[in-house]
């Protein structure tokens, strides 16, 4: 019998460029033998004498010619990153020296060292049980997570919070499936559910509502990953750009007393009280002769319709005009906060008299005042946590692939429901239910997906 992995790979693991240091990694059964050919320790000790886990100073050579001074990191398998013998050489040299070194190593006639494929070190770690697939996937999520909460969710996922919730869904689905299968396989035993299709429909509706809940929890998770989209909206000169600058605490958008200054949308990301926000400043909404401005206006309108939250800014010097009323008509009350701006220009005794827009959420502030940030932050947080789908610590984080799997499961469940409701043969429903089952398995890794494994590792880059 032969071993699965019996060759040794080498690659430069530092980013290409003229960095101060470059490093090269060797992994595999011949890693030490190869490193011994190119590295000579300053202490004069033989390679074998160097500690199994040691950092050593010396020089690297191509044959007898000296290339550079170098550090050698020696790590014996299985307690190394890849689980195999690993030797890492770090030197000052840029791409030229390292390139020469790789050439020397792969040209060693008796050792057969070959250049590593992208991601191959991680793959070896995976093959040697140093990392599992969900960890590999979660590691990638962690790397790209933009804020602490998202990172926390990704970490939680590694611990299995997601599988637990999917598991609950799956076990109910399994009960339902079993009931159908028993009815099909044991017609003589009278073991099936006496209520038959009626009871199955009932169970299925329950499962569907669970799946829907999971999806909305996932939406929440998505906000943590991608940010809550907030759009600054309103008529020109209301103070949208000023308010954005106040929230950003830096003059990012150009502010002038000239209406129509902001022509296109402007996007910024910040973390406010732990909530990641994507802030979009828009052109003011008005009929305009300028084509460029009109394009900006159209975009603004679209942004507002897609937003998680619209901040509708009103210039209180003018009050809510008919034009404001028309614009507000297009918006969803539940996702809109009316900001009465420029309160500093309103005289004390008039403040009380401002009409509150009936059953809209409102706040009053002055964009130029330092307190405006605090007031707005409080409202945004309140909006986020008061949301229909928000439940503390109930959010889950799904990546695109996982979200697709969940949607696929839901579609199959719906198809099964339709079959049963139409009185079609239960075996067809069973096919849909099994498909839903397997889609849920994709979420938890219980359904093997050849494409996924390949993809995850192809997304690692060389040297990882």
């Amino acid at each position: 019998m032969t071993d699965f992995i019996n060759d040794t790979i080498a690659a430069i693991i530092t980013a290409p460029g003229i960095g101060a240091m470059g490093a090269l990694r060797l992994s595999g059964p011949a890693a030490f033998a190869a490193a011994a050919r190119v590295f000579r320790s300053k202490s004069g000790r033989d390679f074998e004498e160097l500690g199994d886990y040691s950092l050593n100073y010396g020089g690297i050579y191509a044959g007898d010619s000296f290339l550079d001074q170098a550090l050698l990191l020696k790590m014996k398998g299985p307690h190394s990153f890849t689980g195999e013998d690993v030797a890492e050489l770090q030197c000052h040299g840029g791409p030229v020296v390292l390139g020469q070194l790789i050439e020397t190593l792969t040209a060693l006639p008796d050792l057969e060292i070959r250049p590593a494929q992208p991601g191959e070190f991680s793959q070896r770690a995976f093959l040697n049980g140093k990392m599992d697939l969900s960890q590999a996937e979660a590691v990638m999520e962690l790397v790209s997570a933009s804020n602490q909460k998202a990172a926390g969710l990704a970490a939680e996922q590694i611990e299995g919070a997601l599988s637990c919730r999917i598991g609950q869904l799956k076990s109910r689905l399994l009960n339902l499936l079993a009931s159908i299968e028993v009815d099909v396989d044991f017609p003589d035993e009278g073991l099936g559910d006496a209520a038959g299709a009626k009871s199955w429909i009932h169970q299925l509706k329950q499962i569907l509502s669970d799946a829907a809940e999971l999806l909305s929890a996932a939406n929440l998770g998505k906000i943590y990953r991608e940010g809550l989209r907030i759009v600054f909206y309103g008529r020109p000169n209301a103070g949208k750009s000023s308010l954005l600058n106040a929230v950003l605490q830096e003059p990012r958008a150009i502010v002038t007393p000239e209406p129509g200054t902001t022509r296109d949308t402007l996007e910024e990301r910040i973390l406010l009280k732990g909530i990641p926000l994507v802030l979009t400043d828009t052109a003011g909404i008005r009929e305009t002769g300028s084509q460029a401005e009109q394009a900006g206006v159209d975009r603004a309108r679209q942004m507002a319709l897609k937003a998680d939250l619209v901040l509708y800014i009103v210039d209180m010097q003018e009050g809510i005009t008919a034009e404001d009323g028309a614009l507000l008509q297009e918006l969803d009350k539940a996702r809109t906060l009316i900001v009465f701006n420029k309160m500093d220009l309103i005289e004390e005794d008039r403040v009380e008299a401002i009409p509150e827009a009936a059953d809209w959420q409102c706040c009053r502030l002055s964009a130029l005042d330092s307190q405006s940030l605090e007031i707005l932050a409080k409202h945004i947080k309140g909006f986020f946590e008061g949301g229909k789908n928000y439940r503390q610590n109930q959010e889950i984080l799904l990546n695109r692939r996982q979200e697709e799997a969940l949607l696929k499961a839901k579609a199959s469940l719906e198809a099964a429901l339709a079959v049963l409701e139409k009185g079609w043969p239960e075996d067809m429903a069973a096919i849909d239910l099994k498909q839903a089952w397997s889609a849920l398995g994709e979420l938890t890794g219980e359904t093997v997906q050849p494409a996924l494994v390949e993809e995850i590792f192809s997304r690692f880059c060389l040297g990882k």
């Binding site: 093959l127 040697n128 049980g129 599992d132 396989d185 035993e189 043969p425 096919i431 093997v448």
Partner: protein, 635 residues
């Protein structure tokens, strides 16, 4: 060299359902075949239910037929009633079940065996398997000391190896219907290094017809238009025996009380015995204990034969003492005066671990040695017959030096059955269930001929004319579907309006093809014949068109699943590698993969204990190797 009585291409041990198919297939494929069995009187015996088929099992019978086996015809020719179960639940799970006259069933099978050229069926018990010093197969030795040389040997010993009959607190050597148990062979197998395991099963009492009050039971007639298992209906199978009905009755609270009071009189409940029994075919005492909230269980009363006064009591299998059985039996409606002719019992027997087999049912260790039927841990006539057929075919291919004949899980229930046996492995008697087949909508009983006849023909088990008939059938199905797709009805068509009205179907708003119309569950092919241009085809062709059109959407879903399944099936694992060196695999996976050396990733994924995470490791490994190879080729 020791003395051998004579030499055969193939020796089949045991004349149960597995043995019969194995011997017939081997002989029909030209092997000089010897069959040895304990008693010639018990050939093709049905020691339990006098019925063949049901969901999944019925499909297997049709697959056997399409591959040229005998079971379907034998059941058809001796049928007392035929009934399709599960109608309305979907065509994949329809199950034809036939009550056969069990005596006629045996007589006919004996006749077929004895008239098969190249086959000799001899009464003798095999007590040893003979190997040479290098563990190569030599042959078998009988109770009488005869030694037969066999190039191949197929062991089909069913429930007979060291079998013991258990009734109440008595536990004695014996076999079904009062015969002796087979001794010696188990020990011989163990001596050659085969692990032996102990399984059990049971059977209910048989009751004298004159003592049953059928008026207190529900009549269960067969279908008015009985179907056949075999795709070929001959004069012989057309319908010879008169219809005999079955009856339905129920156990009740009193029955359950008597059983519960007497559980201490069962060796299985005193804790003395534990043999793994079939979970799907439990004894009545098991049912009462396990489903304690059920206040009654369905029981069927079935005739054993036309000339027989014995009635089989399905659902009432028991290993309680004879007097207790009689007492709780008489609490059942219609059974108050029941006279017991044979008492129920449990039987324990030796089986091998099916994971030592290849997909052709050959020992991985000893070339030419095959195993089929209950000895592999399955339960049921149909499961046994299917394995017998496959073992017989593969023994012949082996001798002819050809590639083994293996069916995949996407091709046949037989493929599912054998793959489960050799890859998943089993810990209790295995019964074929539709739920074991991932793609059951494709593996229907109605299309077994379309799936497999061509394969049977290639093997040489299906005759030319039958193959030609199949081609004709395929042609008509395609022609019919094309035709329906080309015929468009206008919503103004009065014939259409009348049909919609009759069937309570919604009137189409636009022109509609007949094919689309047939998708509606409330309409049948028969209904379409009123429109001009729709031909009358043979009923089996019309049935196929109807099913293929109506379930097209779901059939396509399953076909997509099969394509996905094939992805893993096509990823072949390297031969003879040490999985121990792949530390990313779980310990259990490493051990099992090394032992079973699966052929493909798909097979590996079905081994119990090999997890998806393990498969991911293997996947990546294969992917890496492929990438590297391509890289090298590119250089």
């Amino acid at each position: 060299m020791e003395f051998f009585a004579s030499e055969y291409d193939c020796i089949v041990v045991g004349a149960g359902h597995a043995g019969c198919e194995a011997a017939l297939a081997a002989a029909r494929l030209g092997l000089n075949t010897l069959m040895l069995t304990i008693s010639r009187d018990l050939i093709a015996l049905m020691p339990c239910n006098p019925s063949i088929g049901g969901p999944a099992k019925g499909t297997i019978v049709r697959e056997i037929d399409a591959l040229g086996g005998e079971m379907a015809i034998n059941a058809d020719a001796t049928a007392l009633q035929a009934k399709v179960l599960n109608t309305g639940k979907g065509p994949a799970v329809y199950g034809l079940r036939v009550q056969s006259d069990r005596y006629a069933y045996q007589r006919r099978m004996i006749r077929i065996l004895d008239s098969q050229p190249g086959l000799l069926v001899r009464q003798n018990m095999v007590v040893a398997l003979l190997l040479d010093e290098e563990r190569r197969l030599l042959g078998v030795e009988t109770e009488t000391g005869l030694r037969y040389k066999g190039k191949t040997v197929i062991l089909c010993t069913g429930t007979y190896l060291n079998s013991r009959i258990i009734r109440g607190l008595s536990n004695v050597p014996g076999s079904p219907v009062g015969q002796i148990a087979a001794w010696g062979l188990s020990e011989s197998l163990a001596g050659h290094g085969f692990a032996i395991r102990r399984f059990k099963t049971g059977t209910p009492p048989r009751i004298h017809k004159r003592s049953i009050d059928f008026s207190k039971m529900a009549l269960q007639p067969g279908d008015a238009q009985p179907q056949h298992f075999s795709f070929v209906v001959t004069e012989e199978t057309r319908r010879l025996l008169p219809d005999l009905p079955c009856y339905l009755t129920y156990s009740n609270q009193r029955t359950h009380e008597v059983i519960k009071e007497n559980l201490d009189q069962s060796l299985f409940y005193t804790g003395e015995l534990e043999g793994n029994g079939p979970r799907y075919c439990p004894s009545i005492e098991n049912k009462v204990v396990r489903f304690h909230d059920k206040d009654r269980h369905q029981l069927f009363v079935e005739p054993e034969g036309l000339d027989s006064q014995e009635y089989y009591f399905q659902g009432f299998s028991s290993a309680l003492p004879e007097d207790v059985q009689e007492r709780f039996l008489q609490t059942v409606a219609g059974m108050e005066k029941a006279e017991v002719l044979r008492c129920g019992y449990a039987i324990e027997y030796d089986a091998i671990d099916s994971q030592i087999l290849t997909h052709s049912l050959e020992s991985k260790d000893i070339a030419g040695l095959f195993f089929a039927g209950q000895i592999n841990g399955t339960s049921g006539y149909e499961e046994a017959a299917a394995q017998g057929l496959m073992a017989g075919i593969n023994a012949a291919l082996k001798i002819q030096g050809k590639e083994p004949f293996v069916l995949t899980r996407a091709q046949a229930y037989i493929g599912v059955l054998i793959d489960d046996l050799v890859m998943k492995g089993i810990t209790e008697p295995y019964r074929m269930l539709t739920s074991a087949a991932e793609y059951r909508l494709l593996l229907r009983q109605d299309n077994a001929d379309l799936r497999l006849t061509a394969l049977g023909y290639e093997l040489g088990l299906i005759r030319e004319e039958r193959y030609q008939a199949l081609l004709e059938k395929q042609h008509l199905i395609e022609e019919g579907k094309k035709l329906l797709a080309s015929l468009i009805l206008s919503p103004k068509d009065p014939l259409l309006a009348a049909l919609m009205e009759e069937r309570g179907s919604a009137m189409p708003l636009h022109g509609i093809t007949l094919l689309e119309l047939l998708r509606r569950p409330e309409l049948s092919y028969e209904d379409l014949k009123r429109f001009s241009g729709v031909p009358a085809y043979p009923p089996e062709v019309e049935e196929q068109i109807e099913i293929q059109v109506r379930y097209q959407g779901y059939i396509e879903k399953q076909e997509a699943q099969v394509r996905q399944f094939n992805q893993l099936e096509k990823k072949l694992l390297p031969r003879d590698v040490d999985y121990e060196s792949l530390k990313g695999l779980s310990l259990e996976a490493r051990e099992k993969l090394n032992r079973l050396q699966p052929y493909s990733l798909g097979q590996a994924s079905r081994i119990t204990g090999v997890t998806p995470a393990d498969i991911n490791v293997l996947l990546l490994f294969l992917e890496q190797r492929r990438a590297r190879k391509e890289g090298q080729d590119g250089l």
